[in-house]
Amino acid sequence: MSGSSRRDFLKIALAGAAGATFAPGAGRAAGKTVTFLHESSFIKTFDEYMQNTLAPAYEKATGVKVVYELTSVGSLPTRISTIAETGSGADVTMIFLLYPFLFADKLMDVGDIAEDIGKQQGGWYDAAKEAGIVNGKWKAIPHSNIGQLMNWRTDWFAEVGVKKFPETWEELYEVGKKLKAKDHPFGFELGHGFGDNHGWLYPLLWSYGGREVEADGKTVVIDSDETARAVDFARKFFKDTMLDDVLGWTDVSNNKAWMAEQISCTNNAESILWFAKRDFPEIGKVTDQAQNPAGPKGRFHLLNCIGHSIFNFSPEKEETHKFLRWLMDEKQLGGWYASADSYYQPFLHAYDNAPMWQVEPRNIPYRDAMASAHLPGWPAPPNRQLAEVVAKYVTVDMFAKACAGAATKDVIKSAEAQLKEIYRAV
């Protein structure tokens, strides 16, 4: 055989031998099942609880197999896009942030489940309704919040005489100045990550009374005294308390800096504490968590709601609906939450005093923060314009540019121009 036909033969042989990874449709599970798409959890036991306890239990009770498909962190939006575009691939999926709104047309109305569960388990937090209701209909059943809160070094704060985490941004600023002088600066992300920048910048803006767009979804109001005050604060906060490098940080940077003992305070989810306890117990002992400080107009937090939605094109709509109702029932839900300690903060008031909060009491601020949590871009309604604003880092860069030295007037004007351009079609 000549070179090229030898190559052809090899190709065919390989294709035949490894048909499972090559054949069309091989990417999906076959048979009468409910495919449950989920992002791989930060806490392994959470996924294991579903795989080893819940799924088999459901199959035993109803005969319907539950396939728990895990996709890696960060690839869920891509996967959901693909499924929504092609109309197949999963029946029920985890969903978060603004995605219930972007994909609303392809998601089933699950209001009946939501009402039921709400009644059964103490009622929903308002934040849950903000995240799950699209145009008056429940398109996702909220499952939990993954909060972004203040992480602080109790030992270093104690060195400057602070035993309790400061109540307001100004107080935090004063502490930061002292700590920077002692070579323990703060480190709040101002780069192009996703969670750790929005986690403090939007709450900062809101706590000074600033907002991008009004609740009508049309009027751009970012150019205001309130915004200017927030920007001015951010600038001095950066200059006097932080490392320069934060301007280029992504989400991983503050975790790294914490373990390297470079910073004394940052905004993060529970991952810093979790990782410190596991690999750096000495640092873990002196790490504590607290709600965001308050500004003149209140205290706010970023809402990062994980929920579950059913695709309305699913061939197993009825079965999936039953499954989701079963899953969210208190008999199942409580155990599932507990398997991850308090990493996932439930949106149902029935869990406000659940035993799991006592496993790691330092996580309790995450529970309390939910009462003041909002989606990025609030109070504007979540829609495509908002998604574009967030994807283009309009607000993050407004603050970042000011911190890097630009005039407050200029950065606000430039953000306003961008917002006006994006909201022009509305």
Binding site: P77, D245, L247
Partner: protein, 310 residues
């Protein structure tokens, strides 16, 4: 053939037809077109069709998972008014131009240095290719650590020389961040440039050098008037490839800075991705990606003209 062929037609015809089929297939044009059919079909299906689709997308308002509707040039007009778009354009051109220049000069230097005989030359040649071989995302993760002021060796040296702590912020300062991605790109691509130019150097006939030396040419003159002109075709090809790849670079920025600080390192590819996959605006994302095409074509034409003139 003689006139006798007519009565023999009934007997001769089948092999005659098979022979004429074979002859027909062997004609240059027929053979060529038949041979090229499969690859052309492949390219048409997997490049042509998506390309046309991409153009159509860019003319539509197409949110993800929703039907699109035609809006003409609205996306392009939105890009025109988008200050980030212009920042991205400038970034991509600067990034491509500087990195390519550095790679060209550095690659030439590497080739000249390697064009001498010494032991372990083959091993050195293979080892020098490592930056090119290692998956970009992984080497970028290593660079992330090396550029952290707290861990950077350069910062330690600078601080030792008197620079105020903690030293330059390689990824936080917009200009330094752009320098950083240029450096990493150069580091990654220079070995390939170098090894390729080395191949070219090794085909230069030694007689030409001898003749030039006899004529009294110095080392530099030999390089300028013998080596460079002969290397020109290779330089052109490698540069074209390099420009195309660098212009469309995605991984490096996606992993290192995701476009920050404040869009100082945002490139066409990463911006299009953010808009398409992050905001779910497939039409707008396609319009950003499509603008790469005329820009790239312009660069290539300019480059080709310039190098041909030399």
């Amino acid at each position: 053939m003689s006139i006798r062929s007519d009565p023999l037609i009934g007997v001769v015809r089948p092999p005659h037809r098979a022979a004429s089929l074979a002859l027909w297939l062997d004609r240059e044009s027929v053979f060529s077109w038949l041979m090229m059919t499969l690859p052309l079909l492949f390219l048409a299906a997997f490049v042509g069709y998506p390309f046309v689709y991409g153009i159509l997308l860019s003319l539509q308002d197409r949110p993800v998972a929703q039907p699109g509707h035609f809006v003409g040039l609205k996306n392009f007009i939105a890009d025109y008014h988008d200050p980030i778009f212009w920042r991205v354009a400038i970034n991509t051109f600067v990034y491509t131009a500087v990195a390519t220049l550095l790679k060209m000069v550095g690659g030439l230097g590497l080739a000249l240095a390697m064009n001498q005989h010494f032991r372990m030359k083959n091993l050195v040649r293979a080892v020098l290719l490592l930056p090119f071989i290692v998956p970009t995302v992984l080497s970028t993760v290593a660079w992330m650590w090396m550029l952290d002021p707290a861990f950077s060796v350069v910062n330690r040296i600078l601080i030792g020389l008197g620079w105020p702590r903690p030293g330059p912020s390689w990824l936080g300062n917009p200009i330094l961040a752009m320098c950083s991605i240029i450096v990493i790109n150069t580091w990654r691509g220079l070995p390939f440039y170098g090894i390729t130019l080395l191949a070219g150097l090794q085909t230069v006939p030694p007689e030409l050098y001898e003749a030039a030396t006899i004529d009294g040419a110095s080392g530099w003159q030999r390089f300028r008037y013998v080596t460079l002109p002969l290397l020109q075709p290779i330089i052109l090809i490698v540069t074209l490839f390099s420009v195309i790849f660098t212009f469309a670079d995605f991984q490096l920025v996606y992993v290192l800075t995701h476009g920050g600080p404040q869009n100082a390192t945002q490139l066409f590819a990463t911006y299009a991705f953010d808009i398409g996959m992050g905001a779910g605006q497939l039409g707008l994302g396609a319009s950003v990606a499509l603008t790469m095409l005329p820009a790239l074509a312009l660069l290539i034409v300019a480059l080709t003209l310039y190098l041909r003139k030399q």
